[in-house]
């Protein structure tokens, strides 16, 4: 469903090369983890998938369900099924959480030629999902992420993911800033969404998250390249030995 071929990416502003030839195939329903040291290009990969224009693709391609992802606008990618859970969810004063959720859901439905949700249908979906993620009605009444704790913001990201039902969810260091209880809530939310039609790309620095969201494949990213791929046991090996081997290899 997703194939990244020889992807080279640099920062548009200063032309620093970040990704130097990534090859990655993700099949339907698979969970892939990308691990790597700081600065290896993990977040860049997630932003390029979502379509942030701070980056420039100099070589390579990304094919998503037969479509050339790089030619699509961020909102078109979302409507096609790509979702990025942000490492640092943004606060938007003045935009009510419910207004935002409804606008996003209906925009995607409209883009796909589907009927807009009725208000009762929308409310029902939000209530059910929020309950599972321990998101209080009070949080939903507030402007998006304003005054939310780190854990609340991450749960809010998962809420959006659950409501938007993407086919590819990219999770950028979703575990950062979470204590173990919050991590469990988030992981439960993600696991509940796992299914044969939904693939995940889980980006993390630490193995800890992968105890809760168990991946099918693990890749090690270093200096802009995938330097090793393996099964879930690779994560444990990295936890024990650190990234020193790979950092050395890349340099």
């Amino acid at each position: 469903m997703l194939e990244i071929r020889n992807l080279h990416v640099r920062i548009a502003e200063d032309e620093t090369e970040i990704l130097r030839g990534i090859d990655l195939k993700i099949g339907k329903g698979e969970v892939h983890a990308i691990m790597g040291p700081n600065g290896s290009g993990k977040s860049t990969l997630s932003y390029v998938l979502a379509g942030k224009d701070d980056y420039e693709v100099t070589e390579g391609e990304i094919v998503f369900n037969g479509q050339n992802l790089l030619e699509m606008e961020p909102d078109e990618r979302a409507a096609a099924g790509v979702f990025l859970a942000f490492q640092y969810p943004i606060e938007i004063p003045g935009v009510g959480t419910m207004t935002f959720l409804k606008t996003a859901m209906n925009a995607q439905r409209k883009a796909r030629g589907e009927e807009e949700l009725t208000t009762p249908d929308f409310m029902r979906r939000v209530k059910e999902t929020a309950k599972m993620l321990h998101i209080s009605p009070d949080m939903l009444k507030r402007p998006l992420n304003v005054g939310f704790s780190g854990g609340e913001k991450k749960r809010n990201e998962i809420l959006q993911m659950a409501l938007l039902q993407p086919t590819l969810a990219v999770m950028d260091e979703t575990d950062s800033g979470l204590d173990i209880d919050a991590l469990k809530v988030v992981a439960d939310g993600v696991n509940a969404l796992r299914g044969s039609d939904r693939s995940f790309l889980v980006i993390t620095h630490y193995q800890r998250l992968l105890n809760h969201i168990v991946p099918d494949f693990v890749h090690v990213l270093s200096a802009g390249r995938i330097v090793r791929s393996g099964g879930k046991e690779l994560a444990l090996e990295l936890e024990e030995r650190g990234y020193a081997d790979y950092v050395g290899e890349a340099a």
């Binding site: 961020p74 909102d75 943004i90 938007i92 003045g94 935009v95 995607q108 883009a111």
Partner: protein, 441 residues
Amino acid sequence: MATPTRLLETAAEKALAGHFEAIPEDDPIRDVRATAFDVLKEKGLPHRRVEEWKYTDLRTLLKDVPAPAAPGDIERARAILAETDPLADLAGSRIVFVNGHFVPSLSDMSAIADQVEFASLGRFLADGGAIFERFDMIDPAEAPIFAMNSAFMADGAVINIKAEAVLDKPLHLAHLFVGADAGLQTLRNLVSIESGAKATIFETYHGPDDVAYLTNTVSQVHVADGAEVRWIKLVEEGGAATHLGLAMPRLDANAVFDPFTYTAGPVLTRNEMRLTFSGSHSNAGIRGAILVRGNSHADFTLFVDHAVPDCKSREYFKSVIDDTARAVFQGKIVVRPDAQRTDGQMMSQALLLDEGGEFDNKPELEIFADDVVCAHGATCGQIDEDVLFFLRSRGIGEEEAEQLLVQAFLAEAIEEIGDEAIEEVLEARTRKWLGMTEVVE
């Protein structure tokens, strides 16, 4: 006449002189008009070298002044009122002016007949204008809008909300301009809110988009001890119109006055507010929103006089500027030597949607007392690219995301009004300005 006379030289100034000449000799307040007009003759229209008008050079911006407007077609006004006035549904009583003239048949004060005394200004002018002695005056030389208004005022609302009266529903002062010919409508409102009374007042302005009419409106407002007033002014004049407004509220002790001025539409707008605290423990929340696009120009100039101790003022203004439009905010808070324990917090923020726009922001604090809490802040920026990307990553198109963010920006000020029904109307006006289709649920 002994007054040194500046040669009235711009087309607008010459037009003003011509219109003044046309006022009949036997006009009952000819002396009041002449005193004011002498000031205009002496100084001409204000221009960029006059400090308070530096960013709104009326001499350049005002191309012409049409002749005082004839009464408009009342049936046409009735239809427009029914269709377009967004706040009308919330009001319980209504005073309607068409082309600057009071229209009894469109007005309805029956619901508050026991609580509010009302007469149109026309009646008081016939008596020679003694009514003005009951309100604070201002030197016309210091206030060109006031001078122009005094020279040409034709009608207005004289309102007295009786002591302890509590109006269940807002009182609506609706102003409509109708017809295809430009005209000058000059309104003077004299509003007294007696002690302990509570009221919400709507003051709205609408007119056709393609007629270069001019509105000049001055409201002298007295908020007595313990009275509480919320005042929503909606300036949605037509796109070729000019709106010059001046509000002069004076607050006695323990009073609350919360005005909100929403401006979207006219090609040229200058709204001034000169608010005076004359009694202690009063509270004013002065807020507003300016939405400008095309080549429009909108200015809000505020002067808050903390003349007595223990009063609190909050000033919060938002401007959204698109295309090559220009918005101006000037806010001056003066804290007099005796006005200890004054609390004044002023914030003005602008959002530029296009690189061609301009925002001029001039906050001033003049503090002569030593025990005060005063602050001002100003921001001017564009839509945050990271926020825009976030919204787009959730499937929201660029245009819709921008609209959402403009609404959010204005909502921060609108939500301080503290009345959900009014807030919803103003937010709907923003959606209309943004060209969004209304979702009927």
